[in-house]
Amino acid sequence: MSDISKEKEIIGQLRGILEESSTKEPDWDNFGRNSTIESLGLDSLTILDLLYDIEEEIGVHLEAKEVLNITTLGELVDLLIKNGA
């Protein structure tokens, strides 16, 4: 699978997760690499749920400290690919 299609697949998976679990209504029209973590309704607490769901759905375990400094969805996708997604 190419990097681009892999990236699209992961973004789709993340959207599916957020559609299920997010407590805020993200801006789906502009959902993509440039979406900020804040715009997705995630903070230092709710991102823990995202990591939980990522492990369930994508099978990649990320430590909370690894994502603390992430500000965009693109950075999260890169981190997931780096960790074997």
Binding site: K24, E25, G41, L45, T46, L48, D49, L51, Y52
Partner: protein, 422 residues
């Protein structure tokens, strides 16, 4: 009052008025629609949609009409999270808008507001989902945010976070008396100068595959299959209560504050009484109930003869209604035969920790309009109760104070005396 202190302001007692009302109920999420349904005698009780009830003895409940709360949450940029919290936030937004503390352009409240809120069950949906995940995947795979989501004060905290309310913030948990206890507590805080403005009320949402079947088993739900007929407070042929979900929110503030802000006054809280039966976990005691009623009357400075009508707890179970009518007789004496009594649970169902709030709102709307909604299913009033139940048609009422009763499992009793705007 500035935003940096919630310390008591002086020693004088303040008059406490209601400047905002918000409701998310089985009769709707707009107070005008709720009032229309009350006056037209339309119940919010129906077959339960949220869960599969095919194996249960009782299948009726009062649910907030599908999609209404969800649409309101979406307009706030929120997604459904926990039913009790969601309904509380929706009703809180309406109450704050109604009190002109927020507007469509200004979503953050510019002054200290304390949140004193009630719930009977708390974050039932979050508890159920967390337990479900634990049983399916094991405790090591429990969702991290289960801890804050399952807190009782997730509801008051959620309201505070949504609207930036920076005063006191806590929950009152006392089963079916929760909202009335919360309103009474908030009233005293405002009256005594510990808060200038308080957002109060109650919320419960519990139609999940654990909580509702358990209530089926405790034997107090009506087995009458027709949802319109099922809940019959103070009727001779009553067979039990029907559960409901909902949230009601009121904004209480000092009369001085309301006048200085120039906002309409919807009513006034005149007095509050509370007591504990200390006799049985689930069976009520008329002594404890009467004690709370007398305390509320005394605090309001009124006699039983001054009460224009009673908004009863009226669960429609045999024991509760018989006990409440006995308590009314104990306090009102001969006047008990005359004072009109209305019981709203045939409309909203028994919304447990929200019931006191929804029924207070109904009482304030009745005072505003000078009309009492009819009692549903009261074709055969129980002669043993010997109280003056409003009949099947709305009736005019005067502007004298209303007594609002709430009694709960655990033996807690809460009674409010409510007055008109002036």
């Amino acid at each position: 009052m500035n935003n940096e202190t919630s310390q008591r302001t002086g020693s004088a007692r303040h008059r406490v008025v209601v400047t905002g009302i918000g409701i998310a109920s089985p009769l709707g999420v707009d107070e005008k629609i709720v009032w229309k349904n009350l006056i037209e005698g339309k119940t919010g009780i129906g077959p339960i949609r949220a869960i599969d009830t095919s194996a249960l003895k009782v299948r009726n409940g009062a649910e907030v009409p599908e999609g209404l709360a969800e649409a309101r949450l979406k307009s706030m940029g929120r997604r459904p999270s926990d039913r009790a919290l969601d309904l509380a936030v929706v009703s809180a937004q309406d109450a704050l808008l109604n009190a002109k503390l927020i507007s469509q352009e200004q979503e953050s409240v510019p002054q200290d507001v304390s949140v004193i809120y009630g719930t009977g069950v708390g974050s039932a949906e979050s508890h159920y989902k967390s337990m479900q995940a634990m049983f399916e995947k094991g405790p090591q795979r429990a969702r991290p945010t289960a801890v804050p989501r399952c807190m009782y004060n997730a509801i008051s905290a959620g309201i505070s976070l949504q609207f930036n309310l920076t005063g006191a913030n806590h929950m009152v948990v006392s089963a079916c008396t929760s909202a009335t206890n919360a309103i009474g507590t908030a009233y005293r805080m405002v009256r005594d100068g510990y808060a200038q403005t308080a957002l109060t009320g109650g919320s419960d949402g519990f139609f999940d595959p654990f909580f509702y079947p358990v209530w089926n088993n405790i034997g107090v739900l009506s087995k009458i299959e027709d949802p319109i007929e099922a809940c019959r407070p103070f009727a001779a042929d009553r067979e039990g209560t029907i559960l409901g979900e909902g949230a009601g929110t009121l904004i209480l503030e000092t009369l001085e504050s309301a006048r200085s802000r120039g906002v309409p006054i919807r009513g006034e809280v005149l007095g509050y009484g509370e007591s504990s039966d200390a006799t049985h976990l689930t069976n009520p005691s008329s002594e404890g109930q009467a004690k709370a009623m007398r305390m509320a009357l005394n605090e309001a400075g009124v006699s039983p003869q001054d009460i224009g009508h009673i908004n009863a707890h009226g669960t429609a179970t045999h024991g509760n209604d018989a006990c409440e009518s006995k308590s009314i007789h104990s306090v009102f004496g001969d006047a008990a035969a005359d004072v009109p009594v209305v019981a709203n649970k045939s409309y909203f169902g028994h919304t447990l920790g929200a019931s006191g709030a929804l029924e207070c709102i109904s009482a304030f709307l009745a005072l505003e309009h000078g009309i009492s909604p009819p009692n549903l299913n009261i074709e055969n009033p129980d002669p043993e109760c010997r109280i003056n139940m409003v009949g099947l048609e709305p009736v005019p009422i005067d502007s004298r104070p209303v007594m609002k009763n709430s009694f709960g499992f655990g033996g807690g009793n809460g009674v409010l005396v409510l007055g008109p705007s002036e």
